[in-house]
Symmetry: D2
Subunit: 313 residues, 4 copies
């Protein structure tokens, strides 16, 4: 066995990509992404390390189930859209993606909530973490949102933004300086003061900030990836994880273009109407009601407001 | 999109395999298996339809976690064996296999107990099942095992075996004949009696025997595959599923040879000693006890018997 | 330890229920279901054997996450409905139900597709299965549906229905008779012919029909239960599994009434509009389009037809 | 619905426990733990909030599978030990535990790697985190272990330990002070400087250290709990998570005493012998070899050393 490098290449280098011959399904659009490191945030990245399957693999799985009936009658694109529309999700599990991701720890903590995935993360018990932490761009610094109880509202005034950034930077730098004093080691693990003991890595790291960058290999199937994207490419997700989700959405478009289009049409940009909203729409379309009647159909005030907004009323 | 055939090829045909170029890791031994249909039992088969990763992919995942420390010091084979020995299982999740399997329904019912896998099965609500059912080879017909409460004991006498096979064959054939009478359709779905109604497929199939063949696509990662193999390539597993597990074990050897060897050494052919057995071994090795003392170390009579057997005492 | 009976009580008996004192949350409506066997189909049943949590447990999990913000401002019912509406599903995992279910094997085979659950099923390798198989009521015997490619259409004419039932009954009885001839054992496991060998149970059972009854303990959390109910209490599910799903839906109503109401409003009776349908609804409500324009908004012919039907146009 | 408090009670208070009547199985030893907050580390705790099942529930699940055969012949304790010894794990999934845990974020990050569990964690996007961070006891401060590449070796000298603690304390305090300056809010969320904007919570928290305490509800079944305990009550686990695992192990003993004993005997204190070690043990017991021959049986030098140590040779 000859070792393949598992670390991100120096950004100056071209991606390490050796072509081989395979009898497996190949997704041309995805091949172009392999081992290409897409930079994200100030020090992060995403790179596709491996994948399995394509749009046709989904259909192959589906046609196994539905048999001859689905062969003649419907073309490929129509069947694939039918599957997503009707939430026949198991055929999408036949496609798999493996990503190398570098991301701040607070983003990682949101990411791991998606349990149906495989992951391996850098261990700070074994390794010394490099001095890399996330600093938001000043344009992203905002006050607490007043209407959603989470998320961000108005952007901070430039003076306050500058002060905030200065405080963040100073603290993170200070934490990393302390980290090395505790370890009694520099970035390369070399002892600094030969007379002093270094603290064990698993303890020295507990003072590092949540903005510290970590790395992982993350692998999931297309069904669970779409679930991840529904939640994390959503405006309610924290901006810093949304950046990753949106890059993955782009990659998905190159990997499985027909599934991507159907996913946008039937899930990402779809709307769900409650029983009460279905009743309201029926009445509105029949001319039996106006939006002023919304609450009499069982919608709460808030639901009525959101409904009106969504449908431009 | 151009449809790829999802059905097993006619046995007379050569496997459908088109070579493409890829930047992904390629496992040479596995490429040779792609779309090759290995016959099993009387009408079953297994074929590899797709895979992801190889021995080096496991190491790449592991080295991501353990960092520089694992780079210089240990060679690839040693690290891979270390991982399996110490049950560091997550790096093995980075390899995935997708199989096309044709198998009797009673085997399928054991197979689906392994939940961490993706599967798509032929639906007998959509399709008419072909007239194929499993008949054991006469040499496999045996009485109930007396010591294990499950499984088989002595082989039946030839006369009784012949009678058993005759009964099995007649019944299964009769069930399939009734199936077509209920459907009012032949194998190809053509109406038999234009004047009669056919029963819905989802109801007509409920009289088919558990020996009826079904098909599925089954996909799992290498970690879960090894768990499957530990349970199903085991002598306690029913012979008919063991046949499938053993074929997969052969395929695994061609796919990830180093992992396969480590899996045999540290798991398949390993033994687990209870706290009591550890105490007994210590005492035996120190010459402080003989097997006659086994129960005084806390082993039950049965455990003592099995221990003696395993260690040739 | 004193053994608790794991088998279904004789229907003539009262449920075995001993009251104990507990500090755990108690759902009064669910207590009334404990160990009560609800008969289903001709020989099946469902009984609640254990449960954990109630509506308030869901809120307790949610309030842990959202903190003080959710305490004063919203009342319990509103918060619970908010959670389901916005697919904040993890708090619902805090409630668990354990059911004892007796069901035909072909229903079991659909049921096990729900992987995020725990189950233990009767093993026909260890035990002799009782002579019980499912026979549909004549009113349920129908032709294959022409529009859905699965499912049932028109009911069979009485003569044909009678013939179908007769064939089904004869075959199943015959299969069970053969089963006992192969086993050389009666229902109680007593040898029939002392001079003949009985075939091992794991082989004798392979000729039994898919309509044979089996039993299982099945346990899942409330989040996954609702997913099960969305798919199996749906008109597209086979009638025989829907019967079970609908009984569970009734039990759920007694267990977690507020969650049940929200589940019906926001999921079971909700509609999902695709991106194209959202565009169409907007235009219809603004008077900028009529249903005749549906396909110009990107709906397929079939989608347009289904849309019109759903909204009474 | 009347809200139940989801927060940890003030330590001065008695646990909130109201007795109710239930028809469910009750584990007396576990009732005593309900809502009792066990303090751990300097600010952490574990409390049992709910549970389902007991030792007998495991047997009930198992007897469902194995049928009458297991009824008369074996007593309860023997059957339960048999199940664990032979890795028949599914019956253990029938028991569930729900814990309220307060723990440092770096411990949480190890904990969430156990994916087959349900959890809800405090969100620092919604709430302001209290000023609580973990400081190790001086006796725990140690150098990096030299033999395991992870973990701790010799304890630090008192002077160095004091310096390390001072640095850790100063930094964490400073980070929390900055947190409040960024938020422009005190612990209670009250604005500090009316003229200044507060930064959104989701951004202000990214500078907090990994030692910051968080809280979660964590729920898993007994099978997965034992897997968690095997890995986290192990000497290779970081001391700070082991403290939690050992407390859970104590709770488990009160909950399911027979399972706990079997778990210790057959898993926690068991040994696994590789194929090579089995060969060596056989030879040693037969007097055909001595430890000097270990590597000729295929053990690596390291494996031979560890083997000798384990068996006192």
């Amino acid at each position: 066995m000859t070792t393949r490098d598992s670390q991100a290449p120096d950004s100056a280098e071209a991606p390490v990509r050796e072509a081989s011959s395979t009898f497996r399904p190949v997704a041309a659009g995805m091949e172009a992404h392999l081992n290409v490191y897409h930079p994200l945030l100030d020090h992060g990245f995403i790179a596709v390390k491996d994948y399995m399957g394509d749009d046709l693999s989904v259909l192959q799985m589906a046609r196994m189930s539905y048999g001859k009936g689905t062969k003649g009658t419907s073309n490929d694109r129509a069947l694939l859209r039918y599957l997503l529309r009707h939430l026949h999700t198991s055929p999408f599990e036949g496609c798999v993606i493996k990503l190398h991701v570098k991301l701040p720890i607070f983003v990682m903590r949101q990411w791991v909530r998606h349990r149906t995935a495989s992951l391996n993360e850098v261990s700070a018990r074994y390794s010394i973490l490099p001095d890399e932490f996330y600093l938001p761009d000043p344009s992203l610094l905002a006050v607490q949102s007043t209407d959603s109880k989470q998320g961000r509202g108005e952007t901070l005034a430039p003076d306050r933004a500058a002060e905030v950034l200065r405080l963040m930077t100073e603290d993170a730098r200070h934490n990393f300086a302390t980290y090395h004093r505790l370890l009694n080691a520099d970035d390369e693990g070399r002892t600094v003061d030969a007379a002093a003991d270094g603290l064990a890595r698993e303890l020295a790291r507990i003072g590092l900030p949540l903005s510290t960058y970590t790395q992982m290999y993350w692998q999931t199937n297309l069904h669970n990836l779409m679930h991840f994207l529904r939640l994390r490419a959503d405006p309610h997700a924290q901006w810093e994880i949304r950046v990753y989700a949106e890059k993955i959405l782009e990659i998905m478009k190159d990997w499985v273009p027909v599934t991507h289009e159907a996913f946008c049409d039937y899930q990402l940009e779809a709307a769900r109407l409650s029983r009460m909203e279905v009743g309201l729409v029926k009445a509105l379309l029949a001319g039996r009601a106006t939006m002023a009647d919304a609450t009499s159909f069982g919608l709460s005030e808030r639901e009525a407001r959101e409904f009106a907004q969504r449908f431009g009323l």
